[in-house]
């Protein structure tokens, strides 16, 4: 029998297919269906401190604006409720997920303030999360900000969160780092048990009719797999962490590639958002069939098998890789 099990952040998982942070985890019934379909763990949608701050201050602003100005209308909206603008809503949902599911539930956090990162991390732990994923979603636009300062600050932050909680800690990073292996190592040295590659940024587009910026999120495709595949391959064995590959996981083969690069789990969201829990079965079947066909006994067997350190030509992942792609394009008929 093919062994699909893996471990990630010390958690024993029945297979390597994990639902990455997405709105799917906002609904208990959806999460249950994912579990039934075979997903091995769920990363909760991100708790965005900035969003909480924004929603809180926005609500306060609009409940207050225009009040106590005119004798007939001292307020304009009723203000009687308790508002779920604090992290409580997230934490309640997390606890409910834990209660409803038997697979591990990983909390996800995107903070903005120093205090926010640690206090929310603790709250997520207390709410019952099996592990925490820190979502370092931060775009540097200030030309005076040096990469070394940004990296140092992020490593400090990881250390602080690590000190504040006892559950396993993964860090989701962006690919836009000059010396990614060094940065990855610093995060692990600071206490990260796992690294999630990569965060996808919303990329703005221009509307030429309106001369306006438009924002929309394109769901990932299998071609998006390439970037994390390369970097996990490079980092595997060099940085002592569990890797999770996210972006572009759409098929069983994508999962296999992820494993071979050295990931412990492959995370998928776009596919689930697009097709729901029905996407899970075919991926796992394809994975299992492929393994059977090739007589792989276990996932563990293949993990890292095609990482940079285990291939015949390690340089293929570096510059040579780039050359090869170009030449292959030229050779097209």
């Amino acid at each position: 029998m093919t062994d699909l099990s893996t471990t990630y952040l010390g958690l024993n998982l029945k297979n390597p297919l994990v639902a990455s942070a997405s709105p799917l985890s906002k609904k208990l019934d959806k999460a249950r269906k994912l579990e039934e379909a075979g997903i091995s763990a769920i990363v909760m949608y991100s708790l965005f401190e900035e969003q909480i701050l924004h929603e809180t201050l926005e609500l306060d602003h609009y409940l207050t604006r225009g009040t106590e100005s005119f004798a007939e209308a001292l307020t304009y909206l009723p203000d009687g409720g308790m508002y779920a603008v604090s992290p409580e809503k997230y934490l309640t949902q997390l606890t409910a997920m834990k209660k409803a599911l038997s697979i591990p539930v990983i909390g996800s956090l995107n903070g903005v303030s120093k205090g926010g990162w640690t206090s929310y991390a603790k709250k997520i732990q207390d709410a019952g999360a099996d592990a925490l994923e820190l979502n370092l979603y931060y775009l540097v636009a200030d030309p005076n900000l040096k990469s070394e300062d940004v990296e140092a600050a992020q490593a400090d932050l990881v250390a602080e969160v690590r000190a504040a909680i006892s559950i396993p800690l993964a860090v989701k990073i962006s690919p836009f780092v000059t010396a990614l292996p060094n940065f990855a190592k610093r995060l692990v040295d600071a206490g990260a048990n796992g690294l999630v590659l990569f965060n996808r940024f919303y990329q703005p587009d221009f509307d030429l009719d309106e001369l306006d910026i438009v924002h929309n999120l394109d769901l990932s495709t299998s071609s998006d797999l390439r970037l994390p595949l390369r970097w996990i391959s490079i980092l595997y064995g060099k940085v002592n962490a569990d890797f999770a590959l996210t972006s572009g996981v759409h098929s069983g083969k994508d999962v296999i590639k992820s494993m071979m690069a050295g990931a412990k789990v492959a995370m998928t969201a776009s596919n689930l958002l697009h097709r729901g829990e029905q996407a899970v079965g075919p991926i796992l079947s394809e994975l299992e069939e492929w393994m059977k066909e090739r007589e792989y006994e276990s996932i563990r067997q293949m993990q890292g098998s095609m990482s940079q350190k285990n291939v015949r030509e390690p340089a293929a992942f570096e510059r040579a890789n780039y050359m090869k792609v170009l030449s292959s394009w030229r050779e097209l008929p």
């Binding site: 604006r65 007939e72 009723p78 009687g80």
Partner: protein, 1190 residues
């Protein structure tokens, strides 16, 4: 039993008892009673139980008449039922009140007594409404303070259950309903002891039930009606004793003892004032002071006014009384005296005390101040051998000379009492902070405390005043802090220094706290002379804080509340500083905790940053300033504006004599132009090089402060240096014409809608447009001159262009300008457009609501005149009758035109057949035709002018009706969908040529955001706290069902051209027209500068489909319905969740929000499908389809 002590206002205190003692509550919002309904709705929404452990059912009705009917029905079936109302609302309940009394039904209505609309509407307090129901057979119980309002609510309920006579419990609107003060709270246990459950069950048992069927509401005839009218007499006779019994019982339960008539003062008083309501508190305090000095004076406070017990009244008076002054807070023109005065005259006669001399007087109408000095003036008058009868207090009546002279230096500010006056801007949070402060003082110290808040007449951008008193003795001072009495004066907005006399309130040696842009070393020289003089003369301690800076740094924006509150506590020393800061933070947590940690933290930061920025100013010995306060209106303003309206603007309306006013409520229009409010920090600046002259900015401006003109370029001679202009791009006016887009810098509110709507983007930097916001101060002076120059350029002759395009329509002068509506108001652009298109020949009936307030609240009106002196004639009748009111106007015009035509024909030989024919056959379909008709009518008048024939004089007086008139009936959704719907329906059905504009904000905006039937599903509003569960009423669809009504649903922000077209068509249609206009409102809870974008989303989502239904098309065999928005392209949620009214439900109850949003989505889809089907139906002459087949 320990009684909790709380700080509370009269509305909440009353509602807290009413809610606990009711099963059914039917409500309708009306100031100042709305708070009672809102609290009840909120408590029930949260599941708060009544005394018997079940949650009262609260329902909002379509009018007070509807609420009274519902209450009547609920009572008839045996529920403990109540309602809350005031003023016009109470008048609408009168028919049911007669019924409820005639059927001897136990109930209590709680009324925040308010003035009645007569020569003008007033939301403020007096007893005119109460006196209008004294004949209905209800017991009238009057409370005079917040404590009493709570207590009497309980006593009234206990008494009505036993007496079976219905009770109206009333207190003074605003003065008691809105005063925050310290009271002993009635506990559930105390209420239990007051209410007899057997009587409750007896009430229930009298309810109609098919188990034991009975019949009520018969019709009777001359033989028996009279007898039955007398059959319940004994119940009225018994009622006073029952009320006294309940008052005695209440005393046993709580220790607070009341009587039907409460006497206090000298035991051997010779001069006594009889009074009811909060004025009794003033008189009681004054009398106590004077009696202590040996004056034989007293007061008899009337508690139970109906049934009036002569026996108890006589017993209440000391034997020694020689003269009485009865003070009525009402006015009954033409009567021999006001009602209570006449009651007392009669009581003394029947009570065999005719030896006592009685005079009566009026005081306190519309919350006019009533003070100890006025009380003393009355008592002094009683000392005179021939005291003045039928006097007035508090006004200077120089017409009929009724007023008593008052020595304003007499005051009762007691020892140890601290009085504080705070001046804030509506939006800066001053009032909210002071409500918090007074709660802290009242609840956290041993002090008694009182807070009362005074608001300006504009919707926003105006001055608020907070009057706080506290001290070791009980505070019975239901009047504002008077001049020279305030220990502490705070100015929360620096700009007030140039226009408000704040320091007149300061006591010698008091404290002045200024929120200052300048530090302690620089501020002095920036103060106006008047302020410097007062600080020196009154030896004030002067403190400054740069609250703006603290607010900016701590993210508080324009909110000064927490900062100035902290500064107040830090300087005043009421509590030790650390304790004060701890209490402020505790209050912040209490107030804002439920809104999230971030809000609490932001306020904490502001508290912490305040103290370090607070400085005492070393006051120089001399006045050094070269500036003085600005005049309220410029000297060149017309005399009435300068001398009367200017004085009102200067907060000195109280001192204007009676003779200065119109006798019938008629006012000149075009007066907002003189009130330069100077509100905007930034104003739009025109880039003439890239402007395409589309006029969209002019169209969308809610305040008519940005305008464009095309004019002969020769008129540029003498233009100010900075006056901008460019070549005209209008095809009708090209060569030789210049174009200018000009902003009124001192009238702009800075709402930025003009910039948002500008379609031009600078090719080199797309963020810049053809108009861009820039700081106002540097532009103010030059642009004010440019504006004056611009306004003197003649408007383009409206006969020379077709107004059917946006840019052309905006060449028409707005005859609705500079209103006091909220910055960015979504209603006023429609109103302004109507004024431009038809204003010079329009008569407007305006329903009560926002539009009647920004349109007609003193001191000034935005309705204006053109250069010919023509403009909209405007009137507001009531809330409920506006459609009928406008129809009446139409009927007059039609009838008078008909009569004029009849007369005209008879003068054919006198004025020439040609002229008569031309007038009778005039085509007035366009401006040129209307202009030509005006000229003909002028010629007609000239020709008839010298005739002495009475019929010729009649024709002259009627001839203007031969020029086409436009009747507009304008109001909000509360009127059109709810209270005025019956009338609106009838007026539509009448077929008459009226134009109805519904400014649909989907909520009762003017009374503070209560749900109407226009409120959409899933939106939160007051009275729909858990999100409205049912869809918005489709008023347009109902109107279309007549087939002969022109109907349009428009949204200017989504399609301005469609709005313009609809208004032009509606007016041109010779029959009833209904235009329903999507009107963004601050009650929706989003940034109003984004309202255009948001309106587009409302349309794109299908929430607000746009269409025109023109019956003329059906006559031509075409489908009359033309849908002008596209099939929904986005989900309703994408539009809705930009607005707090929808979003807050997701934060309060996510599951319900999701469920309602799903249904709202279904509503949009179903509506769209229905309209599509209607629009695709085949119309034709007869049954076309059948004909084609054959």
């Amino acid at each position: 039993m320990k009684q909790p002590i709380i700080m509370i206002d009269g509305n909440e205190a009353t509602a807290s008892v009413a809610h606990r003692l009711s099963e059914v509550i039917a409500i309708y919002p009306i100031t100042p009673s709305s708070g009672m309904g809102e609290f009840s709705d909120e408590w029930s929404a949260k599941g708060k139980k009544n005394l018997w452990g079940t949650t009262p059912l609260v329902i909002e009705m379509q009018s007070e008449g509807g609420a009274a009917g519902t209450v009547h029905g609920a009572l008839q079936t045996g529920a403990l039922t109540t309602t809350f109302t005031a003023s016009q609302g109470l008048l609408l309940m009168i028919p049911n009140m007669y019924k409820i009394a005639g059927e001897l039904t136990s109930t209590v209505f709680h009324v925040a007594a308010r003035a009645i609309a007569s020569h003008a509407l007033s939301i403020y307090g007096d007893h005119q409404d109460v006196m209008a129901v004294r004949q209905t057979g209800w017991a009238l119980l009057s409370s005079g303070s917040v404590q009493e309002a709570q207590d009497f609510a309980a006593i009234a309920q206990a008494a009505t259950l036993k007496a079976r006579v219905p009770f109206m419990h009333f207190f003074d609107g605003f003065r008691t309903s809105h005063e925050v003060t310290k009271i002993f709270q009635l506990t559930d246990e105390e209420l239990r002891l007051m209410v007899d459950d057997d009587l409750v069950r007896a009430h229930r048992a009298r309810g109609l039930t098919p188990e034991n069927p009975t019949l009520r509401g018969t019709a009777q005839n001359p033989d028996v009606y009279f007898q039955m009218r007398e059959a319940s007499n004994n119940y009225y006779t018994a009622t006073p004793a029952i009320v006294q019994e309940m008052m005695d019982k209440f005393a046993k339960v709580t220790g607070r003892h009341y009587n039907l008539f409460d006497y206090s003062g000298h035991p051997e008083a010779e001069r006594v004032i009889v009074i009811m309501g909060s004025g009794g508190e003033v008189v009681e305090e004054t009398v106590a002071y004077l009696a202590a000095k040996g004056e034989k004076v007293g007061v008899l406070r009337v508690r139970l006014y109906r049934p009036f017990s002569i026996e108890h009244f006589i017993k209440g008076l000391p034997q020694s009384v020689k003269s009485i002054a009865v003070l009525d807070r009402t006015k009954e023109p033409g009567a021999n005296g006001e009602p209570m005065y006449l009651d007392i005259v009669n009581a003394l006669m029947e009570g065999k005390r005719a030896d006592i001399k009685v005079i009566g007087g009026r005081y306190g109408l519309s919350s006019k101040e009533f003070t100890p000095a006025m009380t003393k003036a009355v008592l002094d008058e009683l000392s005179k051998p021939e005291p003045k009868n039928h006097f007035t207090l508090g006004i200077n009546d120089d017409v009929s000379h009724t007023s008593l002279t008052v020595d304003t230096s007499f005051s009762l500010e007691s020892e140890g009492m601290v009085s504080c006056v705070f001046f804030g801007l509506g939006s800066d949070g001053t009032v909210g902070a002071n409500k918090n402060s007074i709660k802290i003082i009242g609840e956290e110290t041993d002090n008694y405390a009182q807070g009362y808040f005074y608001y300006d007449s504009k919707k926003s951008g105006t001055v608020t005043m907070s009057h706080l008193r506290f001290g070791p003795k009980s505070i019975r001072a239901p009047y504002l802090i008077e001049a020279n009495q305030a220990n502490f004066v705070a100015c929360h907005q620096y700009s007030f220094l140039e226009r408000v006399d704040m320091l007149k309130y300061a006591k010698e040696g008091g404290i002045f706290l200024l929120n200052s842009l300048y530090g302690p070393d620089e501020v002095w020289d920036h103060l106006p002379q008047e302020v410097q003089k007062d600080i020196i003369a009154k030896k004030l301690k002067f403190h400054v804080i740069n609250g703006y800076d603290v607010a900016e740094k701590t993210g508080m924006g324009g909110r000064m509340n927490t900062i100035m509150q902290t500064a107040f506590f830090a300087i005043s020393g009421i509590l030790p500083r650390d304790a004060a800061i701890a209490e402020i933070k505790h209050a912040i947590e209490k107030s804002y905790g439920k809104r999230g940690e971030a809000v609490v933290k932001q306020n904490f930061d502001a508290v912490d940053a305040t103290v370090a920025n607070l400085h005492e100013v070393k006051v120089p010995a001399k006045v050094t300033s070269k500036t003085t306060r600005r005049l309220p209106v410029p000297n060149e303003a017309p005399e009435f504006v300068r001398d009367v309206l200017g004085q009102i603007i200067d907060s000195d309306g109280d001192n204007i004599p009676v003779s200065a006013f119109p006798i019938d409520g008629t006012f000149p229009t075009g007066t907002t132009q003189w009130e330069k409010r100077n509100l905007a920090l930034e104003i739009p600046v025109w880039n003439e090089d890239i402007c395409i002259q589309c006029g969209k900015c002019v169209m969308v401006c809610p305040h008519a402060v940005i305008r464009h003109k095309v004019y002969d370029e020769k008129l540029l001679a003498g233009a100010p240096e900075t006056f901008k202009h460019t070549a005209s791009k209008f095809k009708e006016f090209s060569t030789g014409f210049a174009y200018t887009l000009q902003v009124a810098p001192e009238d702009c509110t800075g709402c930025t809608l003009c910039v948002e709507v500008c379609p031009v983007k600078d090719k080199t930097a797309v963020g810049r447009k053809a108009i861009n916001m820039e700081p106002q101060p540097a532009l103010r002076e030059a642009e004010a001159k440019n504006w004056d120059f611009f306004m003197n350029i003649p408007d383009m002759d409206r006969k020379l262009f077709n107004p059917a395009t946006i840019k052309n329509s905006q060449l028409l002068r707005p005859l609705f300008e500079f209103s006091g509506a909220c910055a960015g108001c979504g209603e006023t652009p429609y109103v302004k457009l109507v004024s431009q298109l038809f204003g010079d020949r329009a008569v407007i009936a305006n329903a009560t609501g926002c539009s009647s307030i920004y349109g007609g609240n003193l001191p000034t009106t935005p309705w204006a005149k053109n250069a010919d002196g023509r403009g909209p004639a405007w009137s507001n009748s009531l809330f409920e009758d506006n459609a009928e009111f406008g129809l009446g106007m139409r009927l007059t015009i039609d009838k008078q035109k008909e009569y004029a035509v009849e007369l005209l024909k008879s003068f054919e030989s006198t004025v020439s057949t040609e002229l008569v024919e031309a007038i009778l056959n005039a085509n007035q379909e366009d401006e040129a035709g209307i202009g030509a008709q005006r000229e003909r009518v002028t010629e007609l008048k000239n020709k008839l002018g010298k005739s002495s024939d009475s019929r010729a004089k009649d024709l002259i007086s009627l001839a203007d009706n031969l020029v086409k008139k436009s009747v507009w009936i304008i109001g909000g959704d509360g009127w059109a969908y709810d209270i005025g719907y019956g009338g609106l329906d009838h007026v539509l059905a009448s077929g008459r040529n009226v134009n109805i504009l519904v400014l649909d904000t989907e909520v009762y905006s003017n009374t503070g955001g209560q749900a109407s039937k226009a409120t959409p599903r899933a939106a939160v509003a007051k009275f729909a706290m858990s999100g409205k569960g049912l869809p918005k009423k489709d008023l347009g669809l109902i109107a279309m069902s007549y087939g002969y009504v022109y109907v349009a649903r428009v949204a200017m922000g989504a399609n301005d051209q469609q709005t313009l077209k609809a208004l032009l068509e509606a007016e041109a249609y010779d029959g009833p027209s209904l235009v329903i206009a999507y009107s963004p409102c601050i009650a929706h809870g989003y940034d109003m500068s984004k309202s255009l974008e948001q309106t587009k989303l409302a349309v794109q989502s299908g929430h607000w489909p746009m269409y025109r239904y023109d019956p003329r098309l059906a006559e031509q065999g075409q489908n009359p319905l033309v849908i002008e928005s596209k099939e929904p392209t986005i989900p309703v949620s994408q539009y809705a969740y930009n607005e707090t009214r929808y979003k807050m439900l997701t934060q309060m109850d996510e599951d319900r929000a999701e469920m309602l949003m799903k249904e709202a989505q279904h509503d949009a889809k179903a509506r769209w499908t229905l309209y599509q089907q209607m629009a695709s139906m085949h119309y034709g002459n007869g049954n076309d389809n059948e004909e084609k087949k054959s």
